[in-house]
C-alpha cells in the first residue's frame, strides 16, 4: 500500500549569488573575523516550505494550489526526494515517478530509440522492460521511421509527443505531476488525455500541482492550498478551491466542474487529425 507522510517539513533555499558563491570572499571573511566579508556571511535564505504536515494513503488524489512562489513545486520536489527537508521528515512508500521536466535527460543528438532506452535506464528498468517501453512510446508518439533518427531532426510536435509518451509510459504507485504537464488543456489531445488519465488512475496516490482549478477539481479528492510555503487550508476540493478562488477575488469560484466519478472518455476517432494538429506545437 502506497503512503506519503510529510511530518513538519521545512525547506530553506540558500540564495547564493554574487559574492556568496566565491571561495575567496569566504576565506577572506573567515580570516578577517567576519569584518571585511560581512556580506559573504549575510546569505539570503528563502523559506521554501514551513512546517508542512499531511498523510496520504492509497486512493488519495492531492491537488496543490497557491499563487506563484507559494511552494507547490518545492513541495513536489521534496516529496520526490530531490530536495531533502531541513527540518521534519518525508516518508514515501511505493514506487515513485515525478513528472517535473518534460524533456528529462533527453539528448537531441541521440536517436529516438536511444533516448527511450536511456529513459528506461534512468527508471531502473531491465532489458525486456525497455523493449516494451520502446514499443509503447514509438506507437503512441507515431515516430515510425523517425525512431532511428536523431531527435534534433524531429519537428517540434514530434519532440513534444516523444517527451509526453516517455513521461507517461512508466506507471508508478505514487505519481507526482507538475502543471507543465497539463498546460493549455484547450489544445490537449484526446489521445494524450486518455493516456494521462490511465496513468493517473493506475497510480495509488496522485500529487498534482496546478493553476488549472478545473483539473484539480475533477481529478483530486483533496486539496492543499499553500501560501508562502505554509499550508493555508487542507480539505475537500470544492471547499478549499472555493476559499482559494474567493480569496483571490476571482469570479470563477462558483463554477467548478463536478468531480470525476467515471471519467468521460471521449471517442478516440478524431485522434489522427488531432495528432497532425500537434505538429504545429500542440499538446502543450
Amino acid at each position: 500500500m502506497a503512503t506519503i507522510d510529510a511530518d513538519h517539513v521545512s525547506v530553506d533555499f540558500p540564495l547564493y549569488h554574487g559574492s556568496a558563491r566565491s571561495l575567496k570572499r569566504a576565506v577572506f571573511a573567515a580570516a578577517s573575523g567576519g569584518r571585511i566579508g560581512k556580506d559573504a556571511q549575510k546569505r539570503v535564505v528563502v523559506q521554501g516550505l514551513r512546517d508542512v504536515s499531511f498523510h496520504l494513503g492509497a486512493g488519495d488524489r492531492l491537488g496543490l494550489v497557491g499563487s506563484n512562489g507559494a511552494g507547490k513545486t518545492t513541495l513536489l520536489r521534496t516529496l520526490a526526494g530531490i530536495y531533502e527537508p531541513v527540518r521534519g521528515r518525508v516518508r514515501v512508500c511505493g514506487s515513485l515517478n515525478a513528472l517535473l521536466d518534460p524533456n528529462l535527460g533527453m539528448n537531441p543528438d541521440l536517436t529516438g530509440r536511444e533516448n527511450i532506452a536511456l529513459r528506461g535506464l534512468f527508471a531502473g528498468l531491465g532489458r525486456p522492460a525497455i523493449r516494451r517501453l520502446e514499443e509503447d512510446v514509438r506507437d503512441f508518439a507515431d515516430l515510425d521511421a523517425f525512431v532511428d533518427l536523431p531527435v534534433r531532426t524531429y519537428s517540434s510536435g514530434m519532440v513534444v509527443r516523444l517527451g509526453f509518451a516517455l513521461a507517461t509510459a512508466i506507471h508508478p504507485e505514487v505519481l507526482m505531476m507538475d502543471e507543465w504537464f497539463l498546460a493549455g488543456d484547450a489544445g490537449f489531445l484526446d489521445k494524450a488525455r486518455l493516456r494521462l488519465e490511465s496513468l493517473v488512475r493506475g497510480a495509488e496516490i496522485l500529487v498534482l500541482s496546478s493553476h488549472m482549478h478545473e483539473i484539480v477539481a475533477r481529478w483530486c479528492n483533496r486539496v492543499i492550498w499553500l501560501e508562502n510555503g505554509r499550508i493555508q487550508e487542507d480539505g475537500a476540493p470544492q471547499e478549499v478551491l472555493g476559499h482559494y478562488l474567493a480569496g483571490k477575488g476571482s469570479e470563477e469560484a462558483p463554477t467548478l466542474p463536478a468531480p470525476l466519478p467515471a471519467p468521460p472518455f471521449a471517442e478516440a476517432t478524431v485522434v489522427d487529425a488531432l495528432l497532425k494538429e500537434s505538429d504545429r506545437g500542440g499538446l502543450r
Binding site: 558563491r21 520536489r77 527540518r87 521528515r89 512508500c93 514506487s95 515513485l96 517535473l100 493506475g202
Partner: protein, 295 residues
Amino acid sequence: MNRADAPLAAPPPALRLKTRGGATLDLVAGLGFSGRQHQAIADLGEAARLWRLGTTLAWLDVKGRYRGSMLGPLWLTLSTAVMVAALGFLYSTLFKMVLREYLPFLALSLVLWGYVQTMVSEACLGFTQNDAIIRAVRMPFSLYGGRIVLRNVIVLAHNIIVIVVVFAIFDTWPGARAALALPGVVLWLVDSLAVTMALAAICARFRDIPPIVASIMQIAFFVSPVIWRPELIHRGARFLPLNPFYSLFEIVRGPLLGEIPGHMIWFSALGYSVLMIALAWLLFVRVRGRLAFWV
C-alpha cells in the same frame, strides 16, 4: 486502483513500477553523522545498482563527441599519438636523451596525465552541468561522479594503443613486471572517484574553484616528473615522494617501464590516497543532502 475501468492505453505490465513494501524514500532532517553516513552509503549502493545507466551514459558521452566523424573515438588516439611524437622528438633533442629510453616514458606519462587532467577539469562541472536532471529526478549523486570516471577510463583505454605502439616500435616490453602496476591501477580508480566527487561538490558551492583548480593542475604538470624523468633531480630526490603526483604516477608508470617502485613511493601514494578518500568521504557525507540546492 480499479484497473478494470482503465481501457485503451493500459500499459504493458512490465512498465508498472512495483515495490516490495518498505519505504522507497525516508528523509529525516537533522541526522547525526552516522545517519548521514548511512544515506551516503545508500547513495553509493544505488549508483552501483544503476551501473548500466552509468556505463551507457559514459559511452554516449565519448561517442557523442565524435558523432559523424569517420574515426570516431580513435581521434583521441590519433591526437595523443601526434602529441607524443612531437614532444618526444623535441625534448629528446633538447635534453639530449636517447629516444628509445625517453619515448616510452613520455608516451606513458602523457597518456596518464591526460587522464588526470581531463578528469579533474570535468569533475569541476560534475554536478553543475547536470543541474536539470538533479532538479527533475532523485538520482544518486555518485552516479554523476562514476559517469565522469568511466568516461575518462574509456578515453584512457583508447590512448593505451599509443603506448602499445611505442613499446612495440622500441621493443621495450616490461614483461611480467607490468602486473605489478595492477594494484596501482585499482588505487587510481578509487582515488579518481573520490577526487571527482569532492571537486564536483566544492565547485557546485563555490563557483570560483574551477579556474583555481585549472591553474594548480598546470603548475603540477611542470613541477612533477611527467615530461621530465625523476632521475634528472640529483640533490633532494628523496623529497620527491612528498609530491603526490610523483608517487601516484610511479606506482603505475614504474612497473610498466620495468621498474619496481620502492617502499617510500608506495607509502606516499597510499598515504595521500587515504587522506584524499577520507576527506572526500567526509565532505560527501556532510553536503550530499544540500547538493540539489547548490546546483
